[in-house]
Amino acid sequence: MKSTIFYNGKYQWFVFGRDPDKPEKIIDTNQYMIVDGDKSFLMDPGGIEIFSSMLASVLRHTEIEHLVDIFASHQDPDIISSLGLWDEALPKARLHAPWIWEGFIRHFGLKNISYNAIPDEGASLVLNSAKLTFIPAHYLHSSGNFNVYDEQAKILMSGDIGAALEPAGASMYVDDFEEHISKMKLFHQRWMPSNAAKQDWIDRVRKLDIEYMAPQHGRIFKGEDVQNFLNWFETLDVGSAIK
């Protein structure tokens, strides 16, 4: 699995994805990790089918005992169905995930890792230097859903928001926003259920200083493409299945 460092300050942000060994019919996913000295934080670690590639890739950049915190933005299988295996690999870790999904996520297997239920209004997490905020993104698309914001690195890990459906081997970054729209449109119209939730999130996120917006599928938005995305998303009518 390809790993790319996209922020390198007092700590590092990595993105993992574009796994050539991934079974063909499984949607491609981006996994993110912060390595902050002796603490590492893995975000949306992915489905059970990519677990082996993910673990091997993660251990290139951190020690297994340093991986103490995991985050699941919501309950979907491509986000966290590997949990039962991480539970065996990281018995002392904590899983930070929406409170409403605790009883559901535990179905993936959670005997050792402790579940830190994030309340609806969000929460914060401090590693060593990295100070992170779990930003509410409810109903985008999951009814209990969070993004991770890093004020110092100016990174918003946006989960399914900003996701794109792309062929294998696509670039890690958006290089032509207008061209990228066609890869995002259906996903946002069909998977995102609520215009009200969408606007609530946009209003919240516009107040943040964001240099990178990093979704769980597709490409990372840089610089002005973050604003381009917010402007485009604001005008998009979502919840298309009931129109």
Binding site: L55, A56, E88
Partner: protein, 206 residues
């Protein structure tokens, strides 16, 4: 060092692949150092002639080590995937056996027994695959170990050649130091990787 007693095989093989990645980084540095030395040995003419075959050997060794390490990485990842599949098959087997104990209907139990038999066959196949991977990994590590052992001897010789290199002496000594620290670092990583492999082999043998 990790407490391997508590770790399942799929984690140990991933740890091995992670260490290997670090070894690859060091080997790439070694390759660059030997390429630099090669340039100096060409520039120095007769004064550095003795250094040329040494650098050629180190370059070739580094290049081979990179190729073998990539192969080890591929096999270690395959092992990890197989070990995960075995773990999943074992969990399924455990669950099916629990169901069998609860089932009162003989015909339904028989149909499930076929599933259990199939799972048992799968587990045996996965174990054999892991055992074959362990043996292959062991032979690949043996190959790298021999190359590094030879490289250490050659690096020692390079100091003698550096001392005869006139105005190039300082540069070549610095490169010899680089090569020595790289070969020491690689030897250490190989030792750690072999420890992981020994643990895996023991686990598979159980």
């Amino acid at each position: 060092m990790h407490n391997l007693d508590t770790q399942p095989p799929f984690v140990i093989s991933a740890l091995l692949a992670g260490r290997l990645h670090r070894m690859l980084d060091v080997t790439k540095v070694m390759y660059i150092s030997s390429s630099n030395a090669k340039c100096i040995s060409i520039r120095g003419g007769d004064k550095t002639a003795g250094f040329k075959p040494i650098t050629e050997f180190i370059s070739e060794m580094a290049s081979d080590t990179i190729a073998i390490s990539l192969k080890i990485n591929e096999v270690a990842l395959k092992f990890s995937i197989t070990a995960v599949n075995e773990r999943r098959a074992n969990i399924a087997l455990l669950n099916f056996n629990e169901v069998l104990e609860k089932l009162e209907s003989v015909s339904k139990a028989n149909s499930l027994k076929r599933v259990v038999e199939s799972l048992n066959t799968d587990i045996v196949t996965l174990r054999k695959s892991q055992s074959a991977d362990c043996k292959f990994l062991s032979s690949l590590f043996e190959d790298i170990t021999q190359r590094i052992r030879a490289a250490k001897v050659i690096v020692t010789n390079s100091r003698t050649e550096a001392s005869r290199a006139g105005e190039y002496q300082t540069n070549l000594f610095a490169i010899a130091n680089d090569l020595e620290s790289c070969s020491d670092a690689i030897a250490l990583e190989i030792k750690l990787c072999k420890n992981y492999l020994d643990d895996l082999t023991k686990m598979i043998g159980k």
